[in-house]
């Protein structure tokens, strides 16, 4: 049952992502993106990462998508104007190598030589102590430094948004 659902949501995620890229109307594109996010959240939930799944819905499907839709409405976008994709040579090159990559991926899956290694928190252990606790524990002990670094990234991102978004530069002093 879980496997069937996984495939279902996987296919849904891919189809809606394609719909997002190919649809001409930005509002539809945004809605397709919501579907992608929800499918991903469902996949997380099916794999036992309930906390991630809820965060995915809250942050991406909730907050970020609302911002997207707001911006789309404020900008009053029409149907997008498509530019030609590129030189024919580029397209042929891209298609050939894309297909090659796809076939390679299929071969890897078929070869069956895929094996993973379990980390410190396999599914059984997580089910006992709970997702949030496991994540919080790791985040504030082992991964403390990466966690703090992420705040620097956010700070830099905010500075960038302000600088590039500011209408006028202050006068030269």
């Amino acid at each position: 049952m879980v496997t069937v659902l996984l495939y279902l949501f996987g296919i849904l995620a891919i189809l809606s992502a394609l719909g997002m890229v190919f649809h001409r109307n930005p509002v539809y594109s945004a809605l397709f993106l919501v579907v992608t996010f929800f499918s991903l959240a469902s996949i997380y939930a099916l794999l036992g990462a309930q906390f991630l799944s809820i965060i995915q819905v809250m942050v991406y499907a909730g907050a970020i998508m609302v911002l997207f839709v707001f911006v789309i409405m404020l900008l009053n976008l029409r149907k997008e104007v498509r530019l030609p994709i590129g030189k024919p040579a580029q397209v042929i090159f891209g298609v050939i190598f894309g297909l090659l990559l796809f076939v390679e991926g299929l071969l890897i899956i078929k070869s069956g030589s895929i094996s993973g290694t379990l980390g410190r928190y396999p599914q059984a252990k997580v089910n006992v102590i709970g997702n949030v606790e496991a994540l919080g524990n790791l985040l504030f002990t082992k991964y403390l430094f990466p966690f703090e670094l992420a705040s620097i990234i956010l700070l830099v991102g905010m500075i960038g948004a302000i600088i590039l978004g500011r209408k006028k530069m202050p006068k030269e002093l």
């Binding site: 890897i108 070869s111 030589s113 895929i114 094996s115 993973g116 290694t117 379990l118 980390g119 102590i129 606790e133 524990n137 504030f140 002990t141 082992k142 991964y143 403390l144 430094f145 990466p146 670094l149 992420a150 620097i152 990234i153 700070l155 830099v156 991102g157 500075i159 960038g160 600088i163 590039l164 530069m169 202050p170 006068k171 030269e172 002093l173």
Partner: protein
């Protein structure tokens, strides 16, 4: 459930922390004291850089680790960090140039430059792919913004957007690679990956795919061919001091991670990987050099030349021995001086009376009108081409002899041929400066140079000549670091 907090040891991240704090201080000074001169901001930043250099000096030889083995500083890493701090120091001085007045928010400018540096430092000292990734993101995001800093200009915005889109795409590759590596090895740390490879080799296809994706992401940041397409446009559109910093910082950081990966995973010396890096090195330098010949814009020419130099450094990485590693450090140091110097002269001569002098033709005859700038440019061009007695010659000599020692005879022959090709376009600039008449009968007028640019160029010239004439002391120092390189 008990929380076991690993040993934190702030002294392990002291240099990065100093740079980050300085960045915030500079940002706040720029915000609250709008009247403040940009010289003051640059000086505050430079003080922070000197303090963090001092901290690195204190850490020398002590192999300090922190955060439960997340970060570590062996001498090799410390040497890398010092080179990047010197690069940021020169870039900060160069951006005092009065001519490039177009970016006005100097607090943010210097703040972001320092943040970019802190990202590089974190990336270099990371013993864990997660740290490497986060450091790379801090670096990249800062550079995207700095590239678009002259936002009234179309080429700057175009460069920033191009860099951002392609950079985000390549970050996706890198992250996917890290995810696959983690999924197969169960570890983010170089140590864990190494012990996995020692036990299993490269039998797991997913693991190999992960490593390849990771290398592609790094290759993009270091602009190896065929991942180099963004470089000329971005260097052309970015403010010149930032392009200079990018050419050393972003590239060098990728090299540091690459060497760390190759040293910790000994199995990379197998035939398949060697061939891949061999081809990558040859393609990178050949295409960089050949395309540089036809460039008319000096910033684009320097961009292609920086691609070619990444190819030379890759030869040293490929050598894989201690000599190769110390040669990489030496070359990176030399490259910092000569490339930042060359970009510095370009920045100084850049814009006069709103007219850009970025074509190589516009350098005609400046040798007599601006003797000091032209002399400095000539020194940098000779060094980039690898003419003795400059640092570029000695650096190439060390790199190629390390590769010879490791048995890569054909690659060395082709690299030397490449260096010969490159002499053509470097010397073209020198010929234009000294042996050709100015285009419209007279040379353009420039306002006086600011002290910052003068000091930076002086330091760069001295660095190039010192490393070219007395290379042994520095080389001995770097050799010690290469012997000591440990996984901590």
């Amino acid at each position: 459930m008990d929380l076991i907090i690993p040993q934190i040891n702030f002294s392990a991240i002291a240099p990065a922390l100093t740079v980050m704090i300085t960045a915030v201080v500079v940002l706040l000074i720029g915000l609250f004291f709008q009247k403040v001169q940009r010289e003051l901001l640059a000086i505050v930043g430079i003080i922070g850089l000197i303090v963090s250099l001092g901290e690195l000096g204190r850490m020398w030889g002590k192999d300090i680790t922190g955060f439960g083995g997340m970060v570590g500083n062996d001498n090799f890493t410390i040497a890398f960090q010092m080179i990047f701090i010197i690069a940021a120091f020169l870039a900060a001085l160069l951006s005092l140039n009065r001519i490039e007045d177009e970016y006005v928010s100097y607090g943010e400018f210097y703040g972001l430059l320092l943040f970019a540096l802190s990202g590089i430092i974190v990336m270099v000292q990371g013993l864990n792919l997660l740290i490497v990734f986060l450091g790379l993101e801090i670096l990249s995001i800062s550079l995207y913004i700095l590239t678009g800093f002259r936002k009234m200009r179309a080429d700057s915005i175009e460069a920033a957007l191009k860099y951002f889109l392609l950079g985000a795409f390549s970050t996706g590759f890198l992250l996917y690679g890290i995810a696959l590596i983690y999924g197969t090895t169960g570890s983010f740390s170089f140590k864990g990956i190494s012990s996995y490879v020692n036990a299993n080799g490269f039998t797991n296809v997913l693991f190999v795919a992960g490593i390849i994706l990771f290398l592609v992401g790094l290759a993009f940041k270091a602009a190896f061919v065929p991942f180099h397409q963004w470089t000329p446009d971005v260097y052309q559109g970015a403010p010149t001091p930032i392009a200079a910093f990018m050419s050393v910082g972003a590239k060098g950081a990728a090299f540091a991670v690459l060497i760390r990966l190759f040293v910790s995973v000994a199995a990379f010396s197998t035939r398949e990987w060697t061939i891949a890096i061999w081809v990558l090195a040859l393609l990178t330098m050949t295409i960089g050099n050949v395309v540089a010949i036809v460039q008319q814009n000096i910033k684009r020419m320097l961009a292609y030349s920086s691609i070619a130099h990444a190819g030379y450094i890759l030869v040293g990485v490929l050598a894989g021995n201690e000599m190769g590693r110390s040669a990489v450090l030496f070359y990176l140091m030399a490259y910092t001086f000569m490339n930042l110097g060359a970009f510095g002269v370009v920045s100084y001569l850049g814009i006069s009376h709103k007219v850009e002098n970025l074509r190589i033709e516009s350098y005609r005859g400046i040798g007599y009108k601006y003797p000091f700038a032209a002399l400095a440019m000539a020194v940098f061009m000779f060094s980039l081409a690898g003419v003795p007695p400059t640092a570029g010659f000695i650096g190439k000599f060390y790199l190629f002899s390390a590769a010879l020692k490791a048995g890569f005879v054909w690659l060395v022959i082709l690299s030397v041929l490449n260096a010969v090709i490159s002499a053509y376009y470097y010397l073209r600039v020198v010929v234009a400066m000294y042996m050709q008449e100015p285009e419209e009968g007279k040379v353009f007028e420039l306002p006086a140079a600011s002290w910052g640019v003068g000091l930076a160029l002086l330091l760069a010239v001295l660095g190039v000549l010192y490393m070219g004439i007395f290379p042994s002391s520095l080389m001995q120092l770097f050799q010690k670091t290469a012997e000591l390189i440990s996984m901590l």
